[in-house]
Amino acid sequence: MPDIVVAEHLVKRYGPRLAVRDVSFVVAEGEVVGLLGPNGSGKSTILRMLTGYLPPSEGTVRVGELDVRKDSLAVRRRIGYVPEDSPLYEGMRVSEFLSFMGHIKGLFGRALSAAVATACEQLQLERVFKMPIGKLSHGYRQRVAIAQALLDAPRILILDEPTNGLDAYQVIGIRELLRSLAGQRTVILASHVLSEIAKITSRVMILANGRLLTADAAREGGSVPAVCLCVAGPAPAVSAVLRNVDGVTGATVEPTQDHDDVNRYRVEFLPGTLVTGLLASTVVAHGFGLLELVEEKPDLEQAFLNLTSKAANLA
């Protein structure tokens, strides 16, 4: 997929304070990317610069072939944005608000009615459609904010802490919605909730103190890719076979309690090598019984802690 968002050497100063320091990254079309970082790490500032709301002090942002500064209006037509804490016009009804946002995004007549109906259906807003926004619960407000962002079917959806303050059911609903958009739209979302971002996104970028620590936490965060196998056979022989597979960097054995001859192995391999299939076929080819094979998910939490503590030490 081609890159749709390219940020190069972004810097943002608020007076003497540096909020964002030389941040560069790319996002491919159709990707669902997360921006993870502690409070005050510069996530919202970066998102605001991507939308064109805040001009960068230095650096450039390109959306497709457009420069956010020079072609600000054209860029904003391609982006749907949900700011943090869903600022909405309290005095308007949901229907009025969605119509207004549709109008300023260039939707009128039937196109507007269809867009509003689709967004309401996606976000399940029918029940509160005629209610004033000021009387809505936090969850509904958040959904209204997302609905307005989806109105003109933007190519890029940018969300700042979209699940903040939502209950478990609402979080699941938003998560499912964002997952369903993967492939159709590029989604960039910021959050400080690690578990949430891991469930929604395909790639996580980590920020701290305005610096981008990694553009792919799973790959660069220090977490080692690994596979867990349950194999029937003598432990020394199985270990030797596993260690000989190309790309494998180590294998540890952990005996199981049920059978003497069945052991659990954790095999670590080099990032970027796909050894799962090779391990399975090698084990079977040597006549051992393969009872279980589970690929370990990258430990995002460990990656986050490694990177942020390194950054803190450097600072």
């Binding site: 709301y53 805040l54 054209a74 600022p87 109008h103 300023i104 995004k105 009128f108």
Partner: protein, 233 residues
């Protein structure tokens, strides 16, 4: 254009669904009614000159209340972020807010037209000074709303915005008094910054392009600075 109309409609609704608009109009009309009746009984002259000066003062006091929330409230509630991340320009946002506020000032002037109609029915007024007086008030209102919008664009607190506008208006009202204490050529410059100096000829039936130019310049400067303040964020 349709996008601008949507912005304008939103602002008009925000102004005319707010109790502030009706409180301001009511206070304005009650004060005007009292002044008109009193002046007519005392002078027995079919003129609105006193009324125009009264409206001049009331505009200085009420325009800050009308304009204080325009941008400051959006900044405080952060709806400005929502608005300006959509494909609309700062110029369109400011112009929509300006015209909507101006429509409230226009409505106040329109209602005060009842006094001119009353004079027309029961007396034989000289219509020239009445027309020029209303023209002067319209120009004064345009300039004051632009300055009020500018101060609202600078801060996130409505009360501060109102006080700031009021301070600027009062300064521009009395600035000609300060001019008397200054040497040439500063005195002429300072005196010419006065709202009253430029409004007085309109109220008394004299039209000068320079006076109209002053109010138009203040309005344009206010609008320009409002757009700059919004773009600054």
């Amino acid at each position: 254009m349709r996008v601008f109309l949507a912005l304008l409609l939103k602002e008009e609704k925000a102004i005319f669904t707010s109790p502030i608009a009706y409180v301001v109009i009511t206070a304005f009309l009650v004060t005007m009614g009292y002044t008109f009746t009193l002046t007519l009984f005392v002078t027995h002259a079919p003129t609105l000159v006193h009324l125009f000066f009264q409206i001049y003062v009331l505009f200085l006091l009420t325009v800050p209340i009308i304009t204080m929330r325009l941008v400051a409230e959006e900044r405080r509630l952060r709806t400005l972020e929502l608005l300006l991340s959509a494909p609309v320009t700062e110029v369109a946002v400011i112009l929509a807010k300006y015209l909507a506020s101006l429509s409230l000032v226009g409505a106040m002037l329109l209602f005060s037209g009842a006094y001119a109609v009353t004079l027309g029915i029961f007396g034989q007024p000289d219509w020239g000074p009445i027309v020029s007086g209303y023209l002067g008030l319209a120009l004064l209102g345009s300039a004051l709303v632009a300055v009020g919008l500018m101060t609202s664009s600078l801060v996130a607190n409505q009360v501060v915005a109102a006080l700031l506008s009021l301070s600027v208006f009062l300064l521009l009202w009395i600035v000609d008094q300060l001019g008397n204490f200054l040497p040439d050529p500063f005195n002429a410059f300072v005196v010419n910054l006065s709202l009253l100096v430029h409004f007085r000829p309109f109220a008394t039936g004299s039209l000068f392009i320079s006076d109209a130019g002053f109010f138009i310049s203040v309005a344009l400067l206010g609008l320009f600075l409002s757009v700059r303040a919004l773009a600054r964020r």
